[in-house]
């Protein structure tokens, strides 16, 4: 199994959730994060004082998926999260050794 983690733009969450649900991904976990990437460094001015915007609000989605669904999932996320502008985010793929469903004790892909 893989843990697919995507850092995306805030307002794309709904699209991505729908795209994943559409291809049958049953679960995911979402957390608000702050991102620092290429989309950095623009100067802003507030009340006459300049500052550099360093961290931008982003959303991180984590979805554990069976190995054979990986490509499909990546495509779904890419398509739904892309706006074409810098800061669209990244997807990180971690190896996952095991999963346990707490309620039933099921393990592995059965637990997804």
């Amino acid at each position: 199994m893989k843990m697919v983690t995507a850092v995306i733009k805030h307002f794309r969450l709904d699209e991505v959730r729908k795209a994943l649900t559409a291809i049958g991904i049953q679960g995911m976990t979402v957390v608000e994060v702050k991102g620092f990437g290429r989309q950095k460094g623009h100067l802003e001015v507030y009340r006459g004082v300049e500052y550099e915007v360093q961290f931008l609000p982003k959303i991180k989605i984590e979805a554990a998926v069976p190995d054979d669904r990986l490509d499909e999932v990546l495509t779904a996320i890419q398509d739904s999260a892309r706006t074409g502008e810098i800061g669209d985010g990244k997807i990180f793929i971690y190896p996952l050794e095991d999963v346990v469903r707490i309620r039933t004790g099921e393990r592995g892909e059965a637990a997804l």
Partner: protein, 443 residues
């Protein structure tokens, strides 16, 4: 015996327009008027409400989350300390008129004596005009509370709490009290002798505090990270709630300065409302044009700019004057708080100088013009407008110089004695935790 203190009109104006009725009232007014008293109790409550929680909220919303409590503590502690100092000696230095005489300049033109220290001579039956003297002195106390509290915004997020308190005490004693005396102690007081119009505190409150704020934010130094890190408001709704409270409370400030519930109070309220609306709309308009979007903090700050500028004029301007004063103040303060501050590079965290200093100066000068009959004002003739504006200008210069010097000396002394600033670490951690051992929120 006690005369109606505080808001005497300049001699010329008083003689031509108001002396007879005022004199008449003053003589009859051996008894209190329950309507005037009712209004002045409420006006005092309104002005206190402006500081706690109004101003506290306005400022607290604008700082970063880690300093929210430091703003509140400073505002509350200043409120408490000023209350006690006012009772001990403040009221006396501001309003003791012993040794003063119409048109005479002497030491008593600058500050009153200590004859009423510890409120000696004030009891349940003392009157001040048509209201109990206790009510008059509380009303004035609330002005003495809010003025030093205004400065808090300039050195927010970095000044040491103990230094803030000592500075507030020194500045109150050596700048607030004298300027208050000069403007409002009546016959013989400096600004009174000059015929200056300052109905509710353009010089006493706003310019006075605005200049001190500017000096203080320069001497204390910029916040660490100024110019590179974002120091954005952490809770804009708080600032807007505070704005609403300031706005409503300001009716106590301006209309209350009439010390009676009458037509002048009504007109003061009306011009206050108009100027505030215009201040907010003009800031909004300029911002909309210049940066494409009208911000919430902008409309709030514009409203305060309008409130500040109408303050000295509120007893003498008419609706037309108020439209003018509000628009000018919103526009001027916008440019001070943005372009000018940027050009000069000082770190007036919450634009105390930009709004109170500049708005106060705009208002004080325009008061001279807007008192003219042709502006719909209370009635100086077109011919005397020049002289009036000149008198206004003199009072502005005196206030700037006086408050500037007192601030500079006080801050230098405090710096030498205990230091003005929180340490770098304390500042990074935030004053809430480092100075007050508390976090603002656990959300």
């Amino acid at each position: 015996m006690k005369e109606k203190k505080g808001r005497s009109l300049p001699t010329a104006l008083a003689l031509s327009l108001l002396l007879t009725p005022t004199g008449a009232v003053a003589q009859e007014a051996v008894v209190a008027d329950s309507g005037d008293t009712a209004w002045m109790i409420m006006a005092s409550a309104l002005v206190l409400f402006m500081t706690i929680p109004g101003l506290s909220l306005f400022y607290a919303g604008l700082v970063r989350k880690k300093n929210v409590l430091s703003i509140f503590v400073q505002c509350f502690a200043i409120t408490c300390m000023m209350t006690i100092l006012w009772v001990l000696y403040g009221y006396s230095i501001a309003f003791d008129t012993t040794g003063m005489a119409e048109g005479v300049f002497n030491a008593r033109s600058l500050f009153g004596g200590l004859g009423m220290a510890f409120l000696s001579g004030v009891d349940v039956n003392s009157l001040s005009g048509t209201i109990p003297e206790t009510v008059f002195l509380i009303f004035q106390m609330t002005f003495a509370i809010i003025t030093p509290a205004l400065m808090v915004g300039a050195f927010a997020e970095r000044m040491k709490f103990s230094a803030v308190m000592i500075f507030a005490a020194l500045w109150f004693t050596f700048s607030y009290l004298p300027i208050c005396h000069m403007a409002w102690a009546g016959s013989g007081a400096l600004f009174h002798n000059w015929g200056v119009l300052d109905f509710a505190g353009g010089t006493v409150v706003h310019i006075n505090a605005g200049i001190a704020a500017l000096i203080a934010c320069i001497l204390v130094g910029k916040r660490s990270g100024h110019g590179s890190t974002a120091m954005l408001p952490h809770n804009v709704p708080f600032t807007l709630i505070g704005t609403g409270m300031l706005w409503v409370g300001w009716f106590g400030f301006n209309a209350g300065s009439e010390l009676a519930a009458d037509g002048t109070a009504g007109m003061a309220m009306l011009v206050t409302q108009i100027s505030t609306a215009m201040g907010a709309l003009s800031w909004m308009a300029v911002e909309w044009l210049r940066s494409g979007k009208p911000t919430a903090v902008g409309i709030a700050t514009g409203a305060v700019a309008g409130l500040v500028a109408i303050t000295p004029a509120s007893g003498t301007a008419g609706p037309m004057g108020a439209l003018l004063i509000g628009s000018l103040s919103g526009t001027f303060c916008y440019f001070t708080a943005t372009s000018m501050k940027r050009a000069l590079g000082y770190d007036d965290s919450l634009d105390v100088f930009g709004v109170h200093g500049v708005g106060g100066i705009v208002g004080a000068l325009m008061t001279g013009l807007c008192a003219a009959s042709f502006m719909g004002g209370a009635g100086i003739s077109a011919a005397s407008v020049g002289g009036q504006v000149w008198a206004q200008l003199k009072s502005v210069m005196v206030t700037i110089a006086w408050s500037g010097i007192v601030s500079l000396v006080s801050l230098k002394l405090i710096d030498a004695a205990i230091g003005l600033r929180a340490t770098e670490d304390e500042e990074v951690q935030g004053l809430d935790l480092s100075h007050h051992d508390e976090a603002g929120y656990r959300l």
